[in-house]
Subunit: 315 residues, 2 copies
Amino acid sequence: MTDRLPPLTALRAFDAAARHMSFAKAAEELNVTPAALSFQIKSLEEHLGQPLFRRLNRAVELTEAGKTLAPGAAEGFETLTAAWRATRRLQDNTTLTVTAGPGLTAKWLAPRLYEFARAHPEIDLRFSATLRIMDFVRDEVDVAIRFGYGPDPGLYVLPVPPEWVTPVMSPELAERYTTPESLMEAPLIFDESIDFLDPPVDWPAWFRTQGIDFTPTHGSHFSQADHAIDAAVAGAGVALGRRGMAITDLHAGRLVAPFKTAIETKAHFRFLCAPGTETRPQIAAFRDWFIAEIDKTAYVSDEFEIIPVEDIPPP
Amino acid sequence: MTDRLPPLTALRAFDAAARHMSFAKAAEELNVTPAALSFQIKSLEEHLGQPLFRRLNRAVELTEAGKTLAPGAAEGFETLTAAWRATRRLQDNTTLTVTAGPGLTAKWLAPRLYEFARAHPEIDLRFSATLRIMDFVRDEVDVAIRFGYGPDPGLYVLPVPPEWVTPVMSPELAERYTTPESLMEAPLIFDESIDFLDPPVDWPAWFRTQGIDFTPTHGSHFSQADHAIDAAVAGAGVALGRRGMAITDLHAGRLVAPFKTAIETKAHFRFLCAPGTETRPQIAAFRDWFIAEIDKTAYVSDEFEIIPVEDIPPP
DNA sequence: GCTTCAGTTAAGGTATACTTATGTGAAGAT
DNA sequence: ATCTTCACATAAGTATACCTTAACTGAAGC
């Protein structure tokens, strides 16, 4: 069985050569002489039984065999490099890479992080605001904060109490719209970032909690929660604000939540990291800070009557 | 920058040890002595700066660092192995691996392949009936035959003329249902495997070609084209048969297509392989045979009035 | 308490991989 | 034309990484 791997140094030499399309540059990358690289490629070709490169006089080009091997070789070594880097990163207790959705980043994390940074000056914090699902090893991320239902198989999970939503608006608008009924006339803001919730947590659901059967048909739509909140702050209308997204602006007085009925979604934020890494100093510190910040504003929930979404009467 | 890869032999030793969770078995796999393997692991741990395994007395277990590295290492080496195997396979001109959907495999390829096997006894043919999208390198497949629209970026493509569909039924049923109108009373068979076509090629479309506005509401549904054809052969009803799927049974007299109106879909079969590989002897031979077989039955199309699907009047 | 098992350690040999130095053929410059 | 340069090939010598043999350790199991 010659299906086993050829000498790995030779394969790596080939990978570098194929990426640079030049033996000389590949040799430079690997810190060896061009002669050594030439030898490696030759030995690999002997293992294979056919050439991988066509030697033109001032350049090289890949043969069919080379074209077949090159992408896989590149991907393989990239995977190995990523895994190795991730492993090395475990010893690095001074950097912490966190990813969260753009909404939470803008409206919750960013306004609070200065405190974390002050409490832990030794930690070099990096941020990645994306909704993309993360592979902790491949993407070199330590912590992810995600909104949704879970479950999160194979991960360390620290759930936060479920989110609830309630109408929020600028203080000026609040003077005009004082009753649930009056909201039917108000300019409404739609946050499409929670459209994926099932059962839906939307304006018709909230109106039903008030005994009102009303399906608003127009208004401003935003794909990101923070933009919807920003629009409400700007006085553009009334938004169904998620607790985590609106809390900062509520505290600052830029938003008010005049109606004391909120809908509890079944979804919540989760603090996620690779299992075992929750004890690394910077991750533990971030987790503790995160929990403490959440707890700081927990009392707000007491002001509201929170109705689980499944208890809302159907239309 | 110590983010560069560590010695690859050491990494491979680690990979084997992590997969087997045993240095001894890993050494066996790599055809080295346990001592050598122990050394490799130790050197890797020195490179990393921390242990990868915890040595218990009769076993080893992965440390956090080991758990982080192991999956990536395994994936990386798997990728490299697959790429290397795919490259070696290029020299092998005696095996040919073909993948096609289950319908085409059952109703078109299988009944014809004995001829190809007889004409090319030197070729060892392997079959993989699946609809899954294939990666020619990773999945070790030489040729894929796929139904749909394309395009197929980065692949060698040999398109076959578009498919058309026409009602097919057993000879017994054909005595009873002699006019398009009578089909409205017939048990109809639905082939869901072409539901993805847009514009749709379905019973209502065919009825419209006959000037009939009729949307059948019940009948037997099959997710695979070959099952729909089999049901028609068995006399269970009338199917909208795709040319490629029905042709064998039409020739054998097990099915008849009494109405001479067919709908041409915009989709067609494509013969796909990795660019450059179309000249490999066994792939070229299979391609030539494939084209020749298609041509053999091309005259059948002359019997039908073939209406492009976009020319059918809307409902 | 002896045996076995799984991994470690040390010493020494061998094959692998690298370097230096020289060679080759074609493109581009003068 | 011829000269230079460039990119890779080849040869010979060397270093080092890798492997083997052989003896060691410490715990589990009969």
